[in-house]
């Protein structure tokens, strides 16, 4: 009797284990897709120093000092290996670490907050499937007046609206998908000018900035005809997001090339089209950014 009971329990446990193993690939796959769209790898891998995938350490130079991205491999000591699903959701939704520490918005939780619970769980499942790397985190090197982390709670009160993406019923499904993915890809974080406190200037969303990451000029991607991308067709923009080729046949080599190579090129065509649909629906905003010689159309080929 006893051994039969034991066998029965073993069978249930085994069935459970098998079903977990079988369930894993799907959510890992879904998570990998979100991982691509969210562009995690670009910041969390220190390509320049040939460091391991997602082990962090990349220096992000900003006006507030240098941030060193953390290790997000599932290493239990140096990575996020001990995080629960709830820890992970809280980090990306609210910008708070499992220990209750406030994150700097250099980590774009201001955009990741829009991720659904389901996609967040899938993303964590994917991250936990990569190779753990025992690489300790480097502490940030910031200017003194932003070193006091608890003050970030005040910043959040002023500039952060947490919460998963809310579907707009007055818009088509493809537009909503595009808006969701644009939030996940956190386009606005680079393509929007920031205020003195590092906040995105909501009135100028997507209109580009001269003070982008690594001192880059980030173009205006509103549909303004003169200073934005108002002359691009839907297929131009879709093609650009998937390949990096502008309508003139130029292949930009700036940070956007990393965004495309590491992420956007892996997205389904209908998803890339949806992002283009959303971007083209933005209000046009005139914001000239790059040098223009004698008001002539700037050539993209000044090699």
């Amino acid at each position: 009797m006893k051994s039969a009971e034991r066998r029965w329990i073993a069978a249930i446990l085994l069935a459970g284990a098998v079903s977990i193993v079988e369930a894993a690939p799907d959510s890992v796959k879904q998570g990998e897709y979100i991982f691509r769209a969210a562009g995690c790898v670009t910041c969390h891998t220190d390509d320049k120093n040939k460091s391991s995938l997602l082990a962090g350490g990349r220096a992000l130079k900003t006006v507030f000092g240098v941030f060193y991205t953390p290790n997000i491999t599932p290493d239990p000591q140096y990575g996020i290996g001990r995080w629960s699903d709830e820890d992970f959701i809280r980090a990306l939704r609210l910008g708070v670490s499992p220990r209750g520490e406030q994150y700097y918005p250099a980590f774009p939780y201001t955009s990741y907050t829009r991720l659904t619970d389901d996609d967040l769980r899938a993303l964590k499942a994917y991250l936990f499937s990569v190779k753990p790397v025992a690489q300790p985190n480097k502490s940030h090197d910031l200017v003194w007046y932003v070193r006091f982390r608890p003050a970030l709670a005040v910043w959040k009160k002023l500039f952060f609206t947490p919460g998963a993406y809310q579907v707009r019923t007055d818009k088509p499904a493809s537009w909503n998908r595009g808006a969701y993915l644009a939030a996940v890809a956190h386009c606005a974080e680079c393509h929007t000018p920031r205020g003195v406190l590092g906040n995105l200037q909501q009135a100028k969303l997507y209109s580009g900035t001269r003070d982008g990451p690594e001192n880059a000029v980030v173009p205006n991607i509103t549909p303004d005809k003169k200073t934005g991308i108002g002359r691009w067709s839907r297929s131009d923009l879709t093609y650009y997001l998937a390949t990096g080729a502008t309508p003139d046949g130029d292949y930009a080599g700036d940070l956007m090339a990393d965004v495309i190579d590491n992420g956007l090129r892996y997205l389904r065509k209908d998803d890339v089209q949806a992002i283009a649909e959303y971007i083209q629906s933005l209000p046009a905003f005139e914001n000239p950014l790059t040098k223009q010689k004698n008001n002539k159309k700037k050539s993209e080929f000044d090699y």
């Binding site: 502008t246 046949g249 292949y251 080599g253 050539s299």
Partner: protein, 158 residues
């Protein structure tokens, strides 16, 4: 008579050679001229890529021109480093970064790859099969991007 014609021909030939000599001997071109030349080559590169891209995407129906574009790309990408001689990094307006000359081996490697991929593209287009030439086109596009990433200056603020 025959002798006279030959004599005139010889004299005309000598005069032409003499007049042409200063141009032929002008081996030292100015950095500005080299920069302008390579910018035009790159423009052509981009234009053929854009044109091919439009056909491959199905925006326009000029499939029969694909081979011509591919041949042009093959010619332009045959020797990219020749467009960047030492000393052509100053004077004119250029986005060419010093890295081209400082990390010359890396630059040459990327340029060589572009040349090889342009060759492969020209060959692939001959098959007329988009499944064959599509990936080759993508490979060449990636070469453009890879080189611009490390060796071309980013846009500057106003």
């Amino acid at each position: 008579m025959k002798f006279a014609v030959a004599k005139i021909a010889f004299i005309v030939g000598s005069v032409v050679t003499f007049l042409a000599a200063p141009f032929a001997l002008q081996a030292e071109s100015s950095p500005e001229d080299i920069i302008k030349y390579r910018q035009n080559m790159m423009k052509a590169n981009g234009a053929h890529m854009a044109a091919m891209g439009a056909v491959i995407q199905g925006k326009v129906d000029y499939k029969k021109d694909l081979a011509d574009h591919a041949r042009a790309l093959q010619a332009i990408n045959k020797n990219i480093p020749a467009l960047f001689p030492k000393g052509s990094d100053f004077g004119g307006e250029t986005k060419a970064l010093d890295a081209i000359w400082q990390k010359n081996a890396d630059f040459e490697k990327l340029a060589k790859q572009a040349g090889a991929d342009a060759d492969a593209l020209a060959k692939a287009v001959q098959t007329g099969d988009a499944k064959v030439y599509g990936p080759k086109f993508k490979a060449l596009a990636d070469d453009c991007k890879a080189c611009h990433k490390d060796f071309r200056k980013k846009d500057e603020a106003q």
